[in-house]
């Protein structure tokens, strides 16, 4: 049986030599139906061109490291199967909307800064004493925020969001979804502390509900829903300050 092959076109950018990124083609064997784009990149790096640079780690869709544009769509390359593209070639580019450091590696500083700015941890006005025991939480209370806690910080949503692409000041989908995850957590008392960032002009209000962030999210977080719900909650909270706690 003849060996199946597939063409991978990957972005190359050497900041010391290149003015702009360019695409380089690699022809590789497609030796197993379970191969993913990340396997293809690893094959290239191991066998054809050791200079190709890219991020990856767990290879199973949980670490969020291997996000790249695959044929124009932001995907986790460990979750993009070659069989879904073959026999057409696959173009692998660094995630949209971010500065490129080298080849397929993007500068994630902006996202890291935004993530930290929403204080994605339990904020207590007063810690309960150790002797009082745990914070009790029912399954229903966890269900309130469970979906938004699934975020793996892979930044595919930022690559998909045209608002972020046009305006780097925008807080963005994942950061807002995580802010909401903590705001909805019954143990958390930090909503007001997050308000200046989340409710800022460059926060939720910049979002025009394109919705592409939720389409590309590999974990079903639905950050678009998180942002719209935050808009509604923020408005209701302002209109009825003593009422609606939700």
């Amino acid at each position: 049986m003849p060996d199946k092959r597939i063409t991978i076109r990957a972005t190359r950018y050497d900041p010391d030599k290149d003015q702009a990124p360019r695409l380089q083609s690699y022809d590789i064997p497609f030796y197993d139906e379970s191969m993913v784009v990340l396997d293809a990149l690893n094959y290239i790096k191991s066998n054809l061109d050791g200079s190709l640079s890219y991020r990856w780690s767990c290879r199973m869709g949980i670490c969020g490291s291997c996000g790249m544009m695959v044929n124009g769509t932001p995907k986790l390359t460990c979750n993009a199967f070659l069989r879904d593209y073959w026999p057409r070639s696959i173009t692998v580019q660094p995630l949209n909307n971010f500065p490129v450091i080298r080849d397929l590696v993007i500068d994630i500083e902006d996202f890291m800064h935004k993530l930290k700015s929403v204080k994605p941890w339990i904020i207590r006005k007063q810690e309960i004493p150790l002797g009082a025991g745990e914070h009790y939480q029912t399954n229903e209370m966890i269900d309130d925020f469970r979906q938004f806690s699934e975020c793996i910080n892979c930044m595919l949503c930022y690559a998909a969001c045209p608002v972020y692409g046009l305006n780097n000041e925008f807080l963005g989908p994942a950061a807002t979804a995580l802010a909401r995850r903590y705001n909805l957590d019954s143990r958390d008392q930090g909503l007001k502390e997050r308000q200046p960032i989340v409710g800022d002009a460059e926060g939720i209000w910049e979002c025009s509900f394109v919705g592409e962030c939720s389409v590309v999210c590999p974990k079903g977080v639905d950050p678009a829903k998180a942002i719209q719900q935050t808009k509604l909650d923020t408005t209701m909270r302002f209109v009825l300050p003593y009422g609606n706690r939700d």
Binding site: L166, N167, P196, G199, E202, W205
Partner: protein
């Protein structure tokens, strides 16, 4: 990103988003039937419905109030959407205060114009 001092959300944005939402509901629920009946079927003679020609109806204050809501509130929805659409086309200036004055001021102007026209056309007689 600079440090924010205020602990309140950006109130202007909150308010315009609220108006956008209200205008959206009204436009979504009411516009299609008005367009279908008063815009298409009546002028083409297929049905007979209330139209702007019915002066006695226009004189009714409840009708005036309904028309004010129908016409003016959706303009806050349109203003918000069109302003952000222009931002999406790369016009960064559309985010600034002058653009907000133009768009939301425009919606406000339409509201005032509507009030004026509704009060002066077929005026309410007591």
């Amino acid at each position: 990103m600079s440090e924010k001092v205020s602990s309140r959300p950006a109130l202007a944005h909150l308010f315009w988003w609220f108006m956008f939402a209200q205008g959206g509901v009204i436009a979504a629920v009411l516009l299609p039937i008005h367009i279908l009946f008063q815009g298409i079927l009546e002028p083409l003679g297929f049905i007979n419905v209330a139209t702007p020609a019915d002066v006695s109806l226009l004189a009714n204050p409840i009708v005036k109030l309904y028309l004010l809501v129908l016409i003016a509130v959706p303009f806050f929805h349109f203003a918000h959407r069109l302003r952000y659409l222009i931002v999406d086309f790369g016009v960064h200036a559309a985010k600034g205060v002058p653009a907000q004055v133009v768009f939301y001021g425009g919606a406000l102007a339409v509201t005032l114009l509507t009030i004026y026209l509704l009060l002066t056309t077929a005026p309410i007689t007591f």
